[in-house]
Symmetry: C2
Protein backbone atom coordinates (compact mmCIF):
# COMPACT_ATOMS: atom_id res chain seq x y z
CA UNK A 1 0.00 0.00 0.00
CA UNK A 2 1.43 3.44 -0.92
CA UNK A 3 2.34 5.55 2.11
CA UNK A 4 0.13 8.41 1.03
CA UNK A 5 -2.94 6.17 1.27
CA UNK A 6 -2.33 4.87 4.77
CA UNK A 7 -4.67 7.34 6.40
CA UNK A 8 -7.42 6.90 3.81
CA UNK A 9 -10.30 4.94 5.19
CA UNK A 10 -12.67 2.83 3.20
CA UNK A 11 -15.92 0.95 3.75
CA UNK A 12 -16.65 -2.27 1.87
CA UNK A 13 -20.07 -3.86 2.28
CA UNK A 14 -19.44 -7.54 1.68
CA UNK A 15 -21.87 -10.35 0.89
CA UNK A 16 -20.92 -13.60 2.65
CA UNK A 17 -23.41 -15.73 0.75
CA UNK A 18 -25.87 -18.14 2.38
CA UNK A 19 -23.44 -19.82 4.78
CA UNK A 20 -21.08 -22.36 3.20
CA UNK A 21 -17.62 -20.78 2.92
CA UNK A 22 -17.26 -22.25 -0.58
CA UNK A 23 -19.99 -19.88 -1.78
CA UNK A 24 -17.87 -16.82 -0.99
CA UNK A 25 -16.36 -15.01 -4.00
CA UNK A 26 -12.66 -14.18 -4.27
CA UNK A 27 -13.59 -10.50 -4.25
CA UNK A 28 -15.35 -10.94 -0.90
CA UNK A 29 -12.39 -12.86 0.53
CA UNK A 30 -9.97 -10.14 -0.60
CA UNK A 31 -12.10 -7.40 0.95
CA UNK A 32 -12.25 -9.34 4.24
CA UNK A 33 -8.47 -9.77 4.24
CA UNK A 34 -7.88 -6.03 3.71
CA UNK A 35 -10.05 -4.99 6.67
CA UNK A 36 -8.80 -3.94 10.07
CA UNK A 37 -12.33 -3.53 11.46
CA UNK A 38 -15.29 -5.77 10.71
CA UNK A 39 -18.86 -4.83 11.60
CA UNK A 40 -22.02 -6.87 11.31
CA UNK A 41 -24.66 -9.08 12.83
CA UNK A 42 -22.96 -11.42 15.29
CA UNK A 43 -23.79 -14.77 13.58
CA UNK A 44 -22.31 -13.50 10.29
CA UNK A 45 -19.10 -12.33 11.97
CA UNK A 46 -18.91 -15.68 13.79
CA UNK A 47 -18.45 -17.38 10.40
CA UNK A 48 -15.10 -15.63 9.87
CA UNK A 49 -11.64 -16.46 11.15
CA UNK A 50 -10.00 -13.14 11.93
CA UNK A 51 -6.32 -12.53 11.35
CA UNK A 52 -4.03 -10.73 13.77
CA UNK A 53 -4.75 -7.02 13.78
CA UNK A 54 -8.39 -7.48 12.74
CA UNK A 55 -11.07 -6.45 15.19
CA UNK A 56 -14.74 -7.54 15.09
CA UNK A 57 -17.60 -5.29 16.18
CA UNK A 58 -20.62 -7.58 16.38
CA UNK A 59 -24.11 -6.24 16.90
CA UNK A 60 -27.69 -7.40 17.27
CA UNK A 61 -29.98 -7.73 14.24
CA UNK A 62 -32.27 -4.81 15.05
CA UNK A 63 -29.64 -2.08 15.10
CA UNK A 64 -28.71 -1.68 11.43
CA UNK A 65 -28.73 2.13 11.53
CA UNK A 66 -26.36 2.40 14.51
CA UNK A 67 -24.11 -0.31 13.06
CA UNK A 68 -23.94 1.53 9.73
CA UNK A 69 -23.10 4.86 11.43
CA UNK A 70 -20.36 3.28 13.55
CA UNK A 71 -18.81 1.59 10.50
CA UNK A 72 -18.94 4.82 8.46
CA UNK A 73 -17.41 6.78 11.34
CA UNK A 74 -14.56 4.27 11.67
CA UNK A 75 -13.87 4.53 7.94
CA UNK A 76 -13.81 8.33 8.22
CA UNK A 77 -11.18 7.91 10.95
CA UNK A 78 -8.98 6.10 8.44
CA UNK A 79 -9.84 2.46 9.11
CA UNK A 80 -10.23 -0.20 6.43
CA UNK A 81 -13.73 -1.23 7.38
CA UNK A 82 -15.84 -4.15 6.23
CA UNK A 83 -19.53 -4.40 6.93
CA UNK A 84 -20.56 -8.02 6.46
CA UNK A 85 -23.98 -9.09 5.21
CA UNK A 86 -25.51 -12.53 4.89
CA UNK A 87 -26.34 -13.47 1.30
CA UNK A 88 -26.11 -10.40 -0.93
CA UNK A 89 -25.80 -6.95 0.72
CA UNK A 90 -28.31 -5.46 -1.73
CA UNK A 91 -31.22 -7.82 -1.02
CA UNK A 92 -32.92 -6.82 2.27
CA UNK A 93 -29.52 -6.33 3.84
CA UNK A 94 -26.86 -3.81 4.81
CA UNK A 95 -26.22 -1.93 1.54
CA UNK A 96 -29.47 0.01 1.76
CA UNK A 97 -29.01 0.61 5.50
CA UNK A 98 -25.53 2.06 4.90
CA UNK A 99 -26.77 4.25 2.01
CA UNK A 100 -29.48 5.66 4.29
CA UNK A 101 -26.86 6.70 6.84
CA UNK A 102 -24.61 8.18 4.14
CA UNK A 103 -27.50 10.31 2.94
CA UNK A 104 -28.56 11.40 6.44
CA UNK A 105 -25.03 11.78 7.84
CA UNK A 106 -22.27 14.40 7.69
CA UNK A 107 -20.52 15.39 4.43
CA UNK A 108 -17.56 13.21 5.43
CA UNK A 109 -19.72 10.12 4.85
CA UNK A 110 -20.35 11.22 1.25
CA UNK A 111 -16.61 11.72 0.63
CA UNK A 112 -15.70 8.18 1.67
CA UNK A 113 -14.62 5.35 -0.60
CA UNK A 114 -17.56 2.96 -0.37
CA UNK A 115 -17.89 -0.22 -2.38
CA UNK A 116 -20.32 -3.10 -2.35
CA UNK A 117 -19.20 -6.66 -3.00
CA UNK A 118 -22.16 -8.77 -4.15
CA UNK A 119 -22.83 -12.22 -2.70
CA UNK A 120 -24.89 -15.31 -3.45
CA UNK A 121 -28.30 -14.35 -2.11
CA UNK A 122 -30.43 -16.91 -0.25
CA UNK A 123 -32.98 -17.03 -3.08
CA UNK A 124 -30.35 -18.03 -5.66
CA UNK A 125 -28.88 -20.70 -3.38
CA UNK A 126 -32.32 -22.02 -2.42
CA UNK A 127 -33.40 -22.18 -6.07
CA UNK A 128 -30.16 -23.95 -7.10
CA UNK A 129 -30.62 -26.53 -4.34
CA UNK A 130 -33.88 -27.80 -5.85
CA UNK A 131 -33.66 -27.01 -9.58
CA UNK A 132 -34.72 -23.75 -11.19
CA UNK A 133 -38.03 -22.61 -9.65
CA UNK A 134 -37.09 -18.96 -10.40
CA UNK A 135 -36.27 -19.80 -14.02
CA UNK A 136 -38.82 -17.39 -15.44
CA UNK A 137 -40.01 -13.94 -14.28
CA UNK A 138 -40.19 -13.66 -10.49
CA UNK A 139 -40.42 -11.26 -7.57
CA UNK A 140 -38.73 -10.97 -4.21
CA UNK A 141 -40.68 -9.77 -1.18
CA UNK A 142 -39.77 -9.32 2.48
CA UNK A 143 -42.75 -10.39 4.59
CA UNK A 144 -41.56 -8.27 7.51
CA UNK A 145 -43.91 -5.42 8.32
CA UNK A 146 -41.45 -3.83 10.73
CA UNK A 147 -40.56 -1.17 8.16
CA UNK A 148 -43.57 -1.13 5.83
CA UNK A 149 -47.32 -1.49 6.28
CA UNK A 150 -48.78 -5.00 6.14
CA UNK A 151 -51.47 -3.72 3.75
CA UNK A 152 -48.76 -2.88 1.22
CA UNK A 153 -47.33 -6.39 1.51
CA UNK A 154 -50.78 -7.91 0.87
CA UNK A 155 -51.24 -5.62 -2.14
CA UNK A 156 -47.86 -6.65 -3.52
CA UNK A 157 -48.69 -10.35 -3.04
CA UNK A 158 -51.93 -9.91 -4.99
CA UNK A 159 -50.23 -8.01 -7.81
CA UNK A 160 -47.46 -10.63 -7.96
CA UNK A 161 -50.02 -13.44 -8.12
CA UNK A 162 -51.92 -11.69 -10.92
CA UNK A 163 -48.65 -11.13 -12.79
CA UNK A 164 -47.94 -14.85 -12.64
CA UNK A 165 -44.57 -14.25 -10.99
CA UNK A 166 -42.77 -16.96 -9.08
CA UNK A 167 -41.97 -15.48 -5.67
CA UNK A 168 -39.19 -15.59 -3.11
CA UNK A 169 -40.08 -14.52 0.43
CA UNK A 170 -37.45 -13.20 2.81
CA UNK A 171 -38.11 -12.76 6.56
CA UNK A 172 -41.18 -15.04 6.52
CA UNK A 173 -41.51 -15.29 10.31
CA UNK A 174 -39.86 -14.30 13.57
CA UNK A 175 -40.84 -14.54 17.23
CA UNK A 176 -42.28 -11.04 17.01
CA UNK A 177 -44.00 -11.74 13.64
CA UNK A 178 -45.75 -15.10 13.96
CA UNK A 179 -48.80 -14.63 11.68
CA UNK A 180 -47.47 -12.94 8.53
CA UNK A 181 -46.54 -16.03 6.52
CA UNK A 182 -49.87 -17.76 7.19
CA UNK A 183 -51.67 -14.60 6.17
CA UNK A 184 -49.56 -14.42 3.00
CA UNK A 185 -50.53 -18.02 2.13
CA UNK A 186 -54.20 -17.10 2.68
CA UNK A 187 -53.97 -14.06 0.39
CA UNK A 188 -52.26 -16.11 -2.32
CA UNK A 189 -54.88 -18.84 -1.85
CA UNK A 190 -57.51 -16.33 -2.95
CA UNK A 191 -55.56 -15.55 -6.12
CA UNK A 192 -53.85 -18.79 -7.17
CA UNK A 193 -54.59 -22.50 -7.61
CA UNK A 194 -54.02 -24.70 -4.55
CA UNK A 195 -51.62 -27.04 -6.35
CA UNK A 196 -48.98 -24.39 -6.97
CA UNK A 197 -45.66 -25.62 -5.51
CA UNK A 198 -44.34 -24.04 -2.33
CA UNK A 199 -40.73 -24.71 -1.29
CA UNK A 200 -39.46 -24.20 2.26
CA UNK A 201 -35.67 -23.85 2.09
CA UNK A 202 -34.07 -23.75 5.51
CA UNK A 203 -30.40 -23.04 6.30
CA UNK A 204 -29.41 -23.56 2.67
CA UNK A 205 -25.77 -24.63 2.17
CA UNK A 206 -25.32 -25.06 5.92
CA UNK A 207 -24.96 -28.43 7.72
CA UNK A 208 -28.60 -28.37 8.88
CA UNK A 209 -30.00 -27.60 5.39
CA UNK A 210 -33.61 -28.75 4.92
CA UNK A 211 -35.84 -28.51 1.86
CA UNK A 212 -39.56 -29.23 2.12
CA UNK A 213 -41.78 -29.19 -0.95
CA UNK A 214 -45.52 -28.66 -0.57
CA UNK A 215 -48.40 -26.89 -2.28
CA UNK A 216 -50.16 -23.63 -1.60
CA UNK A 217 -53.20 -25.52 -0.27
CA UNK A 218 -51.13 -27.72 2.09
CA UNK A 219 -48.31 -25.41 3.18
CA UNK A 220 -48.16 -24.68 6.90
CA UNK A 221 -46.58 -21.46 8.13
CA UNK A 222 -45.18 -23.24 11.20
CA UNK A 223 -42.77 -25.19 8.97
CA UNK A 224 -40.80 -21.94 8.56
CA UNK A 225 -38.48 -20.15 10.95
CA UNK A 226 -36.13 -17.17 10.73
CA UNK A 227 -33.66 -19.19 8.61
CA UNK A 228 -36.23 -20.20 6.00
CA UNK A 229 -36.57 -18.78 2.53
CA UNK A 230 -39.91 -19.53 0.85
CA UNK A 231 -40.31 -19.98 -2.90
CA UNK A 232 -43.75 -19.96 -4.50
CA UNK A 233 -43.92 -21.49 -7.97
CA UNK A 234 -46.28 -20.58 -10.80
CA UNK A 235 -48.99 -22.46 -12.66
CA UNK A 236 -46.25 -23.56 -15.10
CA UNK A 237 -43.76 -24.81 -12.49
CA UNK A 238 -42.92 -28.51 -12.96
CA UNK A 239 -41.81 -31.16 -10.46
CA UNK A 240 -39.68 -33.99 -11.88
CA UNK A 241 -39.88 -37.04 -9.63
CA UNK A 242 -36.66 -39.04 -9.54
CA UNK A 243 -35.89 -42.48 -8.03
CA UNK A 244 -33.65 -42.28 -4.95
CA UNK A 245 -33.13 -38.58 -5.57
CA UNK A 246 -34.98 -35.50 -4.43
CA UNK A 247 -37.28 -34.07 -7.10
CA UNK A 248 -36.13 -31.34 -9.47
CA UNK A 249 -38.43 -28.33 -9.48
CA UNK A 250 -38.26 -25.82 -12.30
CA UNK A 251 -40.23 -23.08 -13.98
CA UNK A 252 -39.91 -23.38 -17.77
CA UNK A 253 -38.66 -20.49 -19.84
CA UNK A 254 -41.41 -21.05 -22.39
CA UNK A 255 -44.96 -19.84 -21.71
CA UNK A 256 -47.45 -20.79 -24.42
CA UNK A 257 -49.67 -18.23 -26.12
CA UNK B 1 -11.33 -40.51 -6.85
CA UNK B 2 -12.34 -44.08 -5.88
CA UNK B 3 -12.00 -46.59 -8.73
CA UNK B 4 -15.63 -47.64 -8.48
CA UNK B 5 -16.75 -44.09 -9.30
CA UNK B 6 -14.68 -43.65 -12.43
CA UNK B 7 -17.50 -44.58 -14.77
CA UNK B 8 -20.11 -42.47 -12.94
CA UNK B 9 -20.92 -39.34 -14.85
CA UNK B 10 -22.16 -36.12 -13.40
CA UNK B 11 -23.53 -32.80 -14.66
CA UNK B 12 -22.84 -29.58 -12.78
CA UNK B 13 -24.54 -26.41 -13.98
CA UNK B 14 -22.17 -23.66 -12.92
CA UNK B 15 -22.74 -19.92 -12.59
CA UNK B 16 -19.73 -17.90 -13.73
CA UNK B 17 -21.03 -14.58 -12.42
CA UNK B 18 -21.16 -11.38 -14.46
CA UNK B 19 -17.66 -11.53 -15.94
CA UNK B 20 -14.85 -10.61 -13.55
CA UNK B 21 -13.08 -13.80 -12.46
CA UNK B 22 -12.94 -12.47 -8.89
CA UNK B 23 -16.73 -12.83 -8.69
CA UNK B 24 -16.55 -16.61 -9.12
CA UNK B 25 -17.18 -18.68 -6.00
CA UNK B 26 -14.81 -21.39 -4.77
CA UNK B 27 -17.57 -23.93 -5.38
CA UNK B 28 -17.78 -22.88 -9.03
CA UNK B 29 -14.01 -23.04 -9.40
CA UNK B 30 -13.91 -26.55 -7.90
CA UNK B 31 -16.68 -27.76 -10.20
CA UNK B 32 -14.81 -26.35 -13.22
CA UNK B 33 -11.59 -28.11 -12.13
CA UNK B 34 -13.36 -31.47 -11.79
CA UNK B 35 -14.80 -31.38 -15.31
CA UNK B 36 -13.48 -33.25 -18.31
CA UNK B 37 -16.07 -31.75 -20.66
CA UNK B 38 -17.38 -28.19 -20.56
CA UNK B 39 -20.45 -27.06 -22.47
CA UNK B 40 -21.88 -23.61 -22.90
CA UNK B 41 -22.33 -20.45 -24.90
CA UNK B 42 -19.02 -19.66 -26.59
CA UNK B 43 -18.29 -16.27 -24.89
CA UNK B 44 -18.74 -17.86 -21.44
CA UNK B 45 -16.40 -20.76 -22.27
CA UNK B 46 -13.90 -18.24 -23.66
CA UNK B 47 -13.54 -16.79 -20.15
CA UNK B 48 -12.01 -20.06 -18.86
CA UNK B 49 -8.48 -21.39 -19.05
CA UNK B 50 -8.81 -25.11 -19.64
CA UNK B 51 -6.40 -27.61 -18.12
CA UNK B 52 -4.94 -30.59 -19.95
CA UNK B 53 -7.57 -33.25 -20.47
CA UNK B 54 -10.45 -30.76 -20.47
CA UNK B 55 -12.45 -30.34 -23.63
CA UNK B 56 -14.75 -27.41 -24.45
CA UNK B 57 -17.95 -27.78 -26.49
CA UNK B 58 -18.99 -24.22 -27.32
CA UNK B 59 -22.34 -23.46 -28.89
CA UNK B 60 -24.42 -20.58 -30.14
CA UNK B 61 -26.88 -18.75 -27.85
CA UNK B 62 -30.06 -19.98 -29.51
CA UNK B 63 -29.48 -23.71 -29.06
CA UNK B 64 -29.98 -24.24 -25.31
CA UNK B 65 -32.10 -27.38 -25.72
CA UNK B 66 -29.57 -29.17 -27.97
CA UNK B 67 -26.70 -28.03 -25.73
CA UNK B 68 -28.49 -29.37 -22.65
CA UNK B 69 -29.21 -32.75 -24.32
CA UNK B 70 -25.60 -33.12 -25.45
CA UNK B 71 -24.28 -32.33 -21.97
CA UNK B 72 -26.73 -34.75 -20.33
CA UNK B 73 -25.82 -37.47 -22.82
CA UNK B 74 -22.10 -36.99 -22.14
CA UNK B 75 -22.72 -37.26 -18.39
CA UNK B 76 -24.70 -40.48 -18.99
CA UNK B 77 -21.65 -41.82 -20.84
CA UNK B 78 -19.60 -41.33 -17.68
CA UNK B 79 -18.10 -37.88 -18.24
CA UNK B 80 -17.66 -35.24 -15.55
CA UNK B 81 -19.59 -32.53 -17.34
CA UNK B 82 -19.95 -28.84 -16.56
CA UNK B 83 -22.53 -26.65 -18.23
CA UNK B 84 -21.45 -23.04 -17.75
CA UNK B 85 -23.90 -20.17 -17.42
CA UNK B 86 -23.27 -16.44 -17.24
CA UNK B 87 -24.42 -14.90 -13.95
CA UNK B 88 -26.54 -17.38 -12.02
CA UNK B 89 -27.76 -20.53 -13.81
CA UNK B 90 -31.25 -20.19 -12.29
CA UNK B 91 -32.02 -16.68 -13.58
CA UNK B 92 -33.00 -16.84 -17.28
CA UNK B 93 -30.16 -19.26 -17.88
CA UNK B 94 -29.20 -22.90 -18.29
CA UNK B 95 -30.64 -24.54 -15.14
CA UNK B 96 -34.20 -24.36 -16.42
CA UNK B 97 -33.15 -25.44 -19.93
CA UNK B 98 -31.39 -28.52 -18.51
CA UNK B 99 -34.35 -29.40 -16.28
CA UNK B 100 -36.64 -29.26 -19.33
CA UNK B 101 -34.45 -31.79 -21.12
CA UNK B 102 -34.24 -34.03 -18.06
CA UNK B 103 -38.03 -34.09 -17.89
CA UNK B 104 -38.49 -34.72 -21.62
CA UNK B 105 -35.55 -37.10 -22.01
CA UNK B 106 -34.84 -40.79 -21.33
CA UNK B 107 -34.92 -42.30 -17.83
CA UNK B 108 -31.13 -42.22 -17.75
CA UNK B 109 -31.26 -38.40 -17.55
CA UNK B 110 -33.37 -38.68 -14.37
CA UNK B 111 -30.88 -41.09 -12.79
CA UNK B 112 -27.91 -38.75 -13.24
CA UNK B 113 -26.14 -36.81 -10.52
CA UNK B 114 -27.06 -33.21 -11.34
CA UNK B 115 -26.12 -30.23 -9.23
CA UNK B 116 -26.43 -26.51 -9.68
CA UNK B 117 -23.75 -24.10 -8.45
CA UNK B 118 -25.23 -20.63 -7.99
CA UNK B 119 -23.46 -17.53 -9.26
CA UNK B 120 -23.57 -13.76 -8.85
CA UNK B 121 -26.41 -12.78 -11.16
CA UNK B 122 -26.16 -9.65 -13.31
CA UNK B 123 -28.88 -7.90 -11.29
CA UNK B 124 -26.96 -8.30 -8.02
CA UNK B 125 -23.70 -7.10 -9.56
CA UNK B 126 -25.42 -4.18 -11.31
CA UNK B 127 -27.18 -3.14 -8.10
CA UNK B 128 -23.95 -3.37 -6.08
CA UNK B 129 -22.12 -1.22 -8.62
CA UNK B 130 -24.41 1.77 -7.97
CA UNK B 131 -25.69 1.31 -4.41
CA UNK B 132 -28.77 -0.68 -3.44
CA UNK B 133 -31.57 0.08 -5.92
CA UNK B 134 -33.07 -3.39 -5.26
CA UNK B 135 -32.95 -2.85 -1.49
CA UNK B 136 -36.69 -3.32 -1.05
CA UNK B 137 -39.21 -5.62 -2.79
CA UNK B 138 -38.45 -6.08 -6.49
CA UNK B 139 -39.17 -8.19 -9.54
CA UNK B 140 -37.07 -9.64 -12.32
CA UNK B 141 -38.43 -9.81 -15.87
CA UNK B 142 -36.95 -11.00 -19.15
CA UNK B 143 -38.11 -8.66 -21.91
CA UNK B 144 -37.54 -11.32 -24.56
CA UNK B 145 -40.74 -12.46 -26.22
CA UNK B 146 -39.02 -15.34 -27.99
CA UNK B 147 -40.49 -17.82 -25.49
CA UNK B 148 -43.53 -15.98 -24.11
CA UNK B 149 -46.18 -13.66 -25.54
CA UNK B 150 -45.41 -9.93 -25.50
CA UNK B 151 -48.89 -9.29 -24.08
CA UNK B 152 -47.92 -11.27 -20.96
CA UNK B 153 -44.77 -9.17 -20.56
CA UNK B 154 -46.82 -5.95 -20.76
CA UNK B 155 -49.28 -7.34 -18.23
CA UNK B 156 -46.42 -8.23 -15.86
CA UNK B 157 -44.92 -4.74 -16.24
CA UNK B 158 -48.24 -3.15 -15.31
CA UNK B 159 -48.74 -5.43 -12.29
CA UNK B 160 -45.16 -4.78 -11.17
CA UNK B 161 -45.65 -1.02 -11.48
CA UNK B 162 -48.90 -1.17 -9.48
CA UNK B 163 -47.16 -3.29 -6.83
CA UNK B 164 -44.49 -0.60 -6.47
CA UNK B 165 -41.70 -3.11 -7.15
CA UNK B 166 -38.27 -2.03 -8.25
CA UNK B 167 -37.52 -3.99 -11.43
CA UNK B 168 -34.56 -5.66 -13.10
CA UNK B 169 -34.88 -6.35 -16.83
CA UNK B 170 -32.89 -9.10 -18.51
CA UNK B 171 -32.59 -9.43 -22.30
CA UNK B 172 -33.78 -5.85 -22.92
CA UNK B 173 -32.85 -5.77 -26.62
CA UNK B 174 -31.20 -7.77 -29.38
CA UNK B 175 -30.82 -7.36 -33.12
CA UNK B 176 -33.95 -9.44 -33.60
CA UNK B 177 -35.86 -7.63 -30.82
CA UNK B 178 -35.28 -3.90 -31.31
CA UNK B 179 -38.55 -2.41 -30.00
CA UNK B 180 -39.32 -4.28 -26.76
CA UNK B 181 -37.44 -2.04 -24.32
CA UNK B 182 -38.91 1.16 -25.73
CA UNK B 183 -42.36 -0.38 -25.54
CA UNK B 184 -41.68 -1.42 -21.91
CA UNK B 185 -40.70 2.17 -21.04
CA UNK B 186 -43.93 3.39 -22.67
CA UNK B 187 -46.06 0.95 -20.67
CA UNK B 188 -44.33 1.93 -17.42
CA UNK B 189 -44.75 5.60 -18.35
CA UNK B 190 -48.52 5.08 -18.26
CA UNK B 191 -48.29 3.62 -14.75
CA UNK B 192 -45.44 5.45 -13.00
CA UNK B 193 -44.10 8.99 -12.45
CA UNK B 194 -41.60 10.23 -15.03
CA UNK B 195 -38.89 10.98 -12.46
CA UNK B 196 -38.45 7.37 -11.35
CA UNK B 197 -34.77 6.43 -11.73
CA UNK B 198 -33.73 4.13 -14.56
CA UNK B 199 -30.23 2.60 -14.50
CA UNK B 200 -28.54 1.17 -17.59
CA UNK B 201 -25.79 -1.20 -16.41
CA UNK B 202 -23.64 -2.46 -19.24
CA UNK B 203 -20.93 -5.15 -19.04
CA UNK B 204 -20.88 -4.96 -15.25
CA UNK B 205 -17.55 -6.05 -13.67
CA UNK B 206 -15.93 -6.25 -17.11
CA UNK B 207 -13.28 -3.82 -18.45
CA UNK B 208 -15.85 -1.97 -20.56
CA UNK B 209 -18.34 -1.50 -17.68
CA UNK B 210 -20.69 1.47 -18.13
CA UNK B 211 -23.41 2.79 -15.84
CA UNK B 212 -25.86 5.40 -17.05
CA UNK B 213 -28.48 6.88 -14.74
CA UNK B 214 -31.62 8.45 -16.17
CA UNK B 215 -35.32 8.71 -15.48
CA UNK B 216 -38.33 6.95 -16.90
CA UNK B 217 -39.30 10.08 -18.85
CA UNK B 218 -35.82 10.56 -20.34
CA UNK B 219 -34.56 6.99 -20.80
CA UNK B 220 -33.81 5.98 -24.40
CA UNK B 221 -34.03 2.34 -25.40
CA UNK B 222 -31.10 2.77 -27.79
CA UNK B 223 -28.74 3.23 -24.83
CA UNK B 224 -29.10 -0.51 -24.19
CA UNK B 225 -27.60 -3.47 -25.97
CA UNK B 226 -27.46 -7.22 -25.37
CA UNK B 227 -24.99 -6.74 -22.49
CA UNK B 228 -27.17 -4.26 -20.61
CA UNK B 229 -29.19 -4.93 -17.50
CA UNK B 230 -31.86 -2.34 -16.76
CA UNK B 231 -32.95 -1.42 -13.24
CA UNK B 232 -36.12 0.61 -12.66
CA UNK B 233 -36.37 2.26 -9.25
CA UNK B 234 -39.50 3.06 -7.28
CA UNK B 235 -41.11 6.26 -6.09
CA UNK B 236 -39.02 5.87 -2.90
CA UNK B 237 -35.65 5.32 -4.60
CA UNK B 238 -33.07 7.95 -3.60
CA UNK B 239 -30.06 9.33 -5.46
CA UNK B 240 -27.20 10.61 -3.28
CA UNK B 241 -25.04 13.08 -5.22
CA UNK B 242 -21.37 12.95 -4.24
CA UNK B 243 -18.46 15.23 -5.18
CA UNK B 244 -15.96 13.56 -7.53
CA UNK B 245 -17.77 10.24 -7.12
CA UNK B 246 -20.62 8.63 -8.99
CA UNK B 247 -23.94 8.96 -7.18
CA UNK B 248 -25.21 6.26 -4.83
CA UNK B 249 -28.69 5.03 -5.71
CA UNK B 250 -30.72 3.09 -3.17
CA UNK B 251 -34.24 2.05 -2.35
CA UNK B 252 -34.87 2.45 1.39
CA UNK B 253 -36.07 -0.46 3.49
CA UNK B 254 -38.62 1.74 5.20
CA UNK B 255 -41.90 2.65 3.48
CA UNK B 256 -44.07 5.04 5.48
CA UNK B 257 -47.72 4.27 6.28
Amino acid sequence: MATGRLSTGRLSIVGLGPGDASLLTDQARQALQRADRLYGYQPYLDRLQLAEGQQAFPSDNRVEAERAREALTAACEGHQVVMVSGGDPGVFAMASAVCEQIEAGPDAFKQLDVDIVPGISAMLAAAAACGAPLGNDFCVISLSNNLKPWELIEHRLRMAARAGFAMAFYNPVSKARPWQLGQAFDVLGEELAGDIPVIFSRAISRPDQQIRVSTLAEAQAEWADMSTLIIIGTEYTRIIAREERSPLIYTPRRIPQ
